[in-house]
């Protein structure tokens, strides 16, 4: 099964990175014996031993802090924070240290730490298990922020993240964990960091998405054909660094854009995208940049989460306002 789903691709990437570089260590809550609550680290302890894949006490700041200390000594820790909302206790360590140590020490002490965060909703979970917290990360200079939408990218981007000298917050869309890949992810070429990919060409408008919103955007683009709209889909993949050139090229060419993400809209990453496009592509815009996002509410109980999340209808509603033809 390894390699055939996004979760499997992450597992393969970890395994291959650990095999390739003995400085890579994997730890976090339940990642050892259990193989993680999503089984993403399954088998790593058996294969590499408890020294290189181990469980920790329940202390997220401690996990992050220990990873920082290990990186100071030359290791390449990949830690898992079990769910998005359980990354919050580590916030100070991330913002005040992980993001800043390289800059603080003028490059002498870089921290090649990867923080894996299963994020987002759509999995029918109880409170605190479905947050999307990427906006906090992107606004913190010094962090790289990745989020794959396919198994292939999950593999390639995680390998790139582990190889990177910079700290990376690696947001894994948990509702895509079990989506099957079309090809063997491990065979895909590693995408250079900071490149968006056009998942679908289109002439009327471009849907800009990342992580769990990418399949929604693709579905919406397919559905839009019946309305006679030809929509492109751009998957950002890395939010920091952001592929501003591709975004501007595509939007300038097409003239209309809708940003789609799961997190609450207000102050979300979609705001940066819309602002950026407004600033850089003003003259080429035929319509305002629309945002289709989660509602501006705390993540709702699982029974109602579909009313909160962006969906095809909402994307099409937004597209309908763009005055295409």
């Amino acid at each position: 099964m390894t390699g055939s789903t996004l979760a499997g691709a992450v597992n393969s990437a970890l395994r291959d990175a650990m095999a390739a570089d003995e400085r890579v260590v994997v730890f976090g809550e339940d990642v050892g014996r259990l193989g993680g609550v999503f089984r993403v680290t399954d088998g790593l302890r058996a294969e590499f031993g408890a020294e290189r894949c181990f469980d920790t006490p329940l202390a997220e700041a401690g996990i992050l802090g220990a990873a920082i200390g290990m990186a100071m000594y030359g290791l390449r820790p990949v830690v898992e924070l079990q769910f998005d909302a359980f990354a919050y206790p580590a916030f100070e360590q991330v913002v005040s240290h992980l993001a800043r140590m390289g800059n603080r020490t003028r490059g002498r002490m870089r921290l090649p730490v990867v923080v894996r965060i299963p994020y987002g909703g759509g999995i029918g979970a109880v409170e605190h298990h479905s947050d999307s917290s990427e906006a906090y990360a992107v606004h913190t200079p010094g962090l790289h922020v990745f989020t794959p939408a396919t198994a292939g990218d999950a593999y390639g981007m995680l390998r790139a993240a582990i190889a990177s000298p910079d700290p990376v917050l690696f947001f894994e869309p948990k509702r895509l964990y079990h989506v099957r890949a079309e090809t063997d992810p491990a065979k895909e070429t590693v995408a250079p960091i900071g490149t968006a990919v056009l998942r679908r060409e289109g002439a009327d408008a471009v849907l800009i998405a990342y992580g769990p919103a990418v399949p929604i955007a693709l579905e919406a683009a397919a559905a839009a054909r019946t309305e006679g709209w030809d929509l492109a889909v751009l998957d950002l993949r890395t939010l920091v660094p952001l592929d501003e050139e591709t975004i501007c090229d595509v939007v300038s060419r097409i003239g209309r854009a809708v940003v789609v993400h799961e997190a609450a809209g207000f102050g979300g990453f979609g705001a940066e995208l819309a602002a950026l496009i407004g600033e850089r592509c003003f003259a080429r815009l035929a319509a305002p940049v629309r945002r289709v996002t989660g509602l501006d509410i705390p993540y709702p109980p699982p029974r109602w989460e579909r009313h909160h999340l962006p969906n095809v209808d909402r994307v099409l509603d937004a597209v309908a306002t763009l005055g295409i033809r």
Binding site: V37, D55, L58, P89, G124, V126, L295, D296, I297, P301
Partner: protein
């Protein structure tokens, strides 16, 4: 490591002097009744989760003595701060079982009114409820109200920074809080021995300057006694206390978990022999308190509870879109009102489309 304090050994044989008030027959019967109902509730909830009526259920099978003993020690004016694991305790506290399971049913984050039962919403982010308990206790004390606060957490949660900050605050301000750690030997897959190197969790109390106690968490009388003493001391102004109740999570972490990946069934059998209900039942039988009438009454009430739970959870919860927006702030912002209107329109359109389709089908 010496044995935790207990009144009854694993067979239910009395091995310590039990205070007279605990041996009052009414008290004993009440305790037994609660244990039986708690377990029945827990089993039923597990079944409902496996049937998909609940999105998940974290059972506390094996921890009934903690859940029942501690809550029975509370006075109505006291406050209680449970975790996601403490549904049984909430039922014992008098909260409608359907309200208790509402978060797991998935239609609301909290089913009960915290003020009605002086019970906080069950808390998921580990140890984060502990400083709330302390703050509430500080507030009550500053108002001159004589009450105590009981806060639960797990062995794993004791590793979180919030545990430390809360216990320190409680001691510094001599807040009337009793911290009960249910050491059920596991934090999901991580065994207690990997959670800390301390001889016991009770050993942490000294570092905060508060009394600490390590008790057998499968001995319901000991739990009720130790928690009762600590609550009484707290109410009387003697400050906080830490109690470690040594117990065992007999089931999986939640209905989504598979313990065979990380623990030996032999261990489960070992602990099954220390079952809190069997132990207390043997003791009561030995004393002659557990008559057939008493036993049957408890079983009948337990079945009634389970029947009621099943029946009421059969019903699909009704969705009111206003629910999503109404309580984010005391007054919804303009932005939220606009989003509510949009959702309403979207639902109306879907509804109309469905009607039209049905209409079409009928023709």
């Amino acid at each position: 490591m010496s044995a935790p304090e207990m009144f009854l050994d694993a067979d239910g044989t009395q091995i310590g002097a039990i205070p007279a008030d605990l041996l009052d027959p009414e008290t004993l019967v009440e305790t037994h009744h609660a244990l039986v109902l708690a377990r029945r509730f827990d089993m039923q909830a597990g079944v409902l989760a496996r049937q998909g009526r609940l999105v998940v259920y974290p059972s506390a099978l094996g921890q009934e003595a903690c859940q029942v003993g501690a809550v029975l020690a509370l006075e109505p004016e006291d406050w209680f701060f449970p975790t996601y694991r403490d549904s049984m305790a909430m039922v014992v506290r008098g909260i409608d079982p359907v309200e208790v399971l509402t978060p797991q049913r998935g239609d609301r984050h909290c089913g009960h009114d915290p003020y009605e039962h002086r019970t906080a919403p069950p808390c998921t982010p580990l140890a984060t409820q502990l400083p709330h308990a302390v703050g509430l206790a500080m507030a009550a004390r500053s108002r001159g109200d004589r009450l105590a606060v009981l806060a639960f957490c797990g062995d794993g949660a004791s590793s979180e920074g919030d545990f430390h900050e809360a216990l320190n605050f409680a001691a510094v301000y001599q807040a009337p809080v009793v911290f009960l750690v249910q050491n059920n030997q596991y934090a999901i897959s991580v065994p207690f021995r990997e959670q800390t190197r301390a001889a016991s969790l009770a050993a942490k109390a000294d570092g905060y300057g508060m009394p600490g106690r390590r008790i057998d968490g499968n001995d319901v009388l000991m739990v009720r006694h130790a928690v009762g003493e600590a609550l009484a001391a707290a109410r009387a102004g003697a400050g906080p206390a830490l109690i470690e109740a040594v117990t065992y999570r007999m089931g999986p972490h939640t209905t989504a978990d598979d313990p065979s990946r990380y623990r030996d069934p032999e261990e489960e059998r070992l602990w099954a022999a220390r079952d809190p209900l069997a132990r207390f039942g043997a003791f009561l039988r030995e004393r002659g308190t557990l008559t057939e009438i008493v036993e049957k009454a408890a079983e009948a009430d337990a079945e009634a509870l389970a029947d009621d739970l099943r029946a009421r959870l059969e019903q699909e919860p009704v969705f009111d879109p206003a629910d999503l927006f109404e309580h984010v702030y005391a007054e919804p912002t303009q932005r939220l009102r606009a989003q509510a209107a949009y959702l309403r329109a979207q639902m109306d359109a879907e509804h109309a489309a469905a009607e039209a389709a049905a209409e079409g089908a009928r023709r």
